[in-house]
Amino acid sequence: MYEAIAFYLFSALTLGMFSVTVLSKNALYSMSALAGGMIFISGFFFLLDAEFLGVVQIIVYSGAVMALYAFGMMFFDTTQEVREKTECKKTLYTLSLFSAVLIVLIVAAPIMGANIEATYPMSAELGNVQTIGLVLFTKYLVPFELAAVMLLVAMISGIILVSKRLDHSITLHDEDPKEEAL
């Protein structure tokens, strides 16, 4: 009973927040609504006995990613009007059709995958965090290290892209790169 109430509450709040994110004209409103939606998604994770994932969701999304968006928005003129017109109706209808088929596939997926067996089952005596640590550092060690390298590359590229000569284009003025190298 408690689970049902929490599930319906969280789903209504998450879908509402994400609708505000998508439909709002103001970028600041939609960023705040997105941060709220992330918090409610972590509520889903706590409900699904994935405590570590919920905590990571709060820290990474609501903390790091949203702070990055907030600082990134300081570079933009967010009050600027962006024309929201759609000319190619055909593309829109085709994409809508594809997404409808996708929804059907997502909903029908449990029927197709009814005979899935657990490869790395959750044990009862270990907690969620211990199980994740065990599996992540044994079976998924190589993807974990690759993810670390990917994050390092992303951090370096973010620093290079944003902080190098902010007032000067690094791609438009390629004709005189000699004097800049010094």
């Binding site: 994110t21 998604i41 699904l48 006995d49 997404s99 929804i103 909903v107 899935i116 992540l136 892209l161």
Partner: protein, 100 residues
């Protein structure tokens, strides 16, 4: 009783909202927000399958998705700042420079 299908329906609805955002917004920042919504919908689906099949692999892949989303934001926002410095616009149509 909440079953796996409930969670997957909610994840599908979230994914649909993200797709609507990608299809109808012309603001590039909104496209990034919609991408976050899509990735989060996938995360909810993974966590739900992980719980109802008793398998930890879904949560592990949700972690990798979170890592991918974090690096996507870092690189994408850097590129967007650079683009705004060049053109003074975050309109999606300003990217159409190869119009034939």
């Amino acid at each position: 009783m909440i079953t796996l299908t409930h969670y997957l329906v909610v994840a599908g609805a979230m994914f649909a909202i993200g797709l609507v955002g990608i299809m109808r917004r012309k603001n590039l920042l909104m496209l990034f927000f919609s991408t976050e919504i899509l990735l989060n919908a996938a995360n909810v689906g993974f966590a739900a399958v992980s719980k109802f099949y008793g398998d930890i692999t879904g949560q592990i892949f949700a972690f990798f998705i979170i890592a991918v989303a974090a690096s996507e934001v870092a690189v994408g926002l850097g590129l967007l700042v650079l683009w705004y410095k060049r053109t003074g616009s975050i309109d999606l149509d300003s990217l159409q420079i190869m119009k034939g």
